[in-house]
Amino acid sequence: MNIDLKELSQLAPIFRELFKGYHISQRDTELYAQLTNSQDQYRTLFAALGFELVCDRRGFYYFVPEQMGAQVNKTAQRLALFTFILVEHLADQGRDPLAVLDGGSLGRDELPPLLDKYRDLFLQAEVTSQEELEEKVMRRLTQLGFASEDNGAYRFLPPMHRFLDVCLAVQQDRDLAATLHSDLPLPSPELVAEEDDEEIVSLSPAEPEEDEEAALARAIAEERALQEQDA
């Protein structure tokens, strides 16, 4: 594919935002429009540079890390937890969670009761106060393009679908549901006792194994004996 860099006039700001982990959606009018118009070119260019650009048909673009590191992404866990909590909270109130999380908004004044109600869960994400909730969750949501803040309300943007997808994935996780629904531990299979205890392959060493300390003590004793003998 031939890529004409002149056509990609928003390349620098687009890369800068994506590289920060930001999700570009329709709210970022110019960047979004150009990504939509030259989607294939951008994807090819970024792929050549080693970045995977995801174009979600629900109206947003983002980079995914090449491979998940061994270290679990704390931010992602925290934001996912917030989504779970918000969905349940809204459903409990008889409100439509999808209407809020898919383009709706949440007043800043709704955060304190949310924190009070789910304090035990927020604690697991190291969120203990209103300030921490705003700093570690709401600010990250806005920094990464999941939400925007204006006039004391957070408006959720299309990239929130990533977290709603997590809810759907959990719902389809039969293993998780099974572990929750069975309080008793799984019965461990009982092996039929062998009639004779003769082993097919003997794994025990010919001599009793000595641990590291014993081996060291033995070596010192030998050396000393040798010296005594020499003396």
């Binding site: 459903a91 439509d96 809810c167 572990t179």
Partner: protein
């Protein structure tokens, strides 16, 4: 017998009063007092006697009928209600079963048509064909009505209050899907009752056309052809209505289902996190891109040259030894033990120069190793040592300057080191 003209005239004259009442009657019956209140609200200047006269007229014309077993409550005559609903473009979704019943009737009519033709009864044949045609029109009318009703269902769901739970908002959609669309899918399927019925009637009509050509006409061919065309139109309309219903309601139904799945998923995740912590939900750790950490600091020029070098990087070809070729280097020798070196040293006594002896013994030995042995052997109790002049020695890798020792057997040592063991 009520004169239709009088009914129609009354409906036309009192339309402004009747139309709002229709909505009230959609929701249930009304008592005489409630009816008077409704009318009084619309005709505030009218004396009560006029309201009584008006209600009396409607009751006499059968526009209003008393509810069975509740003579003080009234409802709109069902026929009038349907007619007004038609005029107001209101459509109530019918039942799929109604269409199925119509189709069964069509099949029975096809049987009667065949019978009439066999006994060459032209009048009965024409009558049955007319009945068939009217029944097909009924089905078409019903399908058109149902389609409008489905559009209304979807619109109501979409425009209702966004703040009420989705389950309530889409309750009508879900019920319509289960009670109308799903049975319609079964009905209009290739092996469903609709297709089978249509095919049977079509076969009868085509057979009739062929037989008329062979045996002579009992009815006008045009009538047969017209009926056949209408049957095909009915079939197409049914399929289009079903497609439209799916297009309208399926996204809404999926949205409702998705809503349920999201809520359930969130509840499941929270339950798991409460019991086992955040890591219990691996899906929560979704891959979020984070800016890679820089591991070096450099000036712009350094970065540029680094990138330049990277761009022109060519890996050095890796040479692997041939499996068949012999290894040049010998297998590494195990390190000497203190006992071994002491024995060798004892056997070589007297040593005029310990360092020189070590270099002769270990010409390839590492310098640090040689120095270790020099230190170890020169200080050993079984040897008597005598310092030599400082001089230079060459190991494989270094030049050393040191004062070596000449070693002889210590005075209290036996002549043969192994002798005590053998003598013992």
């Amino acid at each position: 017998m009520i004169d239709p003209k009088r009914v129609l005239r009354a409906l036309a004259e009192h339309w402004t009063l009747l139309e709002p009442l229709c909505e009230r009657f959609d929701q249930g019956t009304l008592s005489l007092v409630e009816l008077r209140q409704q009318l009084a609200a619309q005709l505030p200047a009218a004396p009560p006697a006029d309201l009584t006269a008006l209600l009396d007229q409607w009751i006499r014309l059968d526009i209003l009928v008393p509810v069975a077993k509740s003579p003080n409550r009234f409802e709109l005559n069902a026929q009038i209600h349907d007619f007004l609903a038609y005029l107001r473009r209101e459509h109530r979704l019918g039942l799929c079963l109604e269409i199925e019943a119509y189709l069964r009737h069509l099949e029975r009519l096809a049987g009667h048509i065949l019978d009439a033709f066999e006994i060459r009864d032209g009048n009965d044949l024409a009558r049955q064909l007319r009945l068939l045609d009217m029944r097909v029109r009924d089905v078409l009318k019903k399908l058109a009505n149902d389609e409008q009703a489905l559009i209304a269902v979807a619109e109501r769901a979409k425009t209702s209050d966004r703040q009420i739970p989705l389950r309530q908002r889409y309750a009508e959609v879900l019920a319509t899907w289960d009670e109308y669309v799903e049975p319609m899918i079964q009905l209009v399927a290739a092996d469903g009752a609709f297709e089978q019925g249509v095919r049977r009637v079509e076969q009868v009509l085509l057979k009739l056309l062929g037989d008329q050509q062979r045996l002579g006409q009992l009815v006008d061919d045009d009538l047969l052809l017209r009926t056949h065309a209408r049957i095909l139109e009915m079939q197409t309309t049914a399929q289009l209505t079903l497609r439209r219903a799916r297009e309208l309601l399926l996204p809404l139904r999926e949205e409702a289902r998705r809503h349920n799945a999201v809520t359930r998923g969130a509840a499941l995740a929270l339950a798991a996190i409460r019991r086992k912590g955040l890591d219990a939900v691996p899906q929560a750790a979704l891959p979020l891109f984070t800016r890679p950490q820089s591991t070096f600091l450099g000036t712009a020029g350094q970065v540029e040259s680094y990138v330049y070098a990277l761009a022109r990087f060519e890996p050095r070809p890796a040479h692997f030894p041939k499996a068949s070729g012999s290894r040049k280097s010998q297998t590494p020798r195990p390190p000497r033990t203190a006992r071994e070196m002491l024995e060798r040293c004892e056997q070589a006594l007297p040593l005029p120069d310990l360092m020189q002896w070590l270099l002769d013994q270990e010409p390839d030995g590492a310098t640090d190793e040689l120095l270790y042995w020099f230190s170890r052997l020169s200080r050993d109790a079984r040897f008597q040592r005598e310092r030599l002049e400082r001089r230079e020695y060459l190991t494989r890798t270094h030049q050393l300057s040191l004062s070596s020792y000449a070693l002889i057997r210590a005075a209290d040592q036996p002549a043969e080191p192994t002798a005590p063991a053998s003598a013992g």
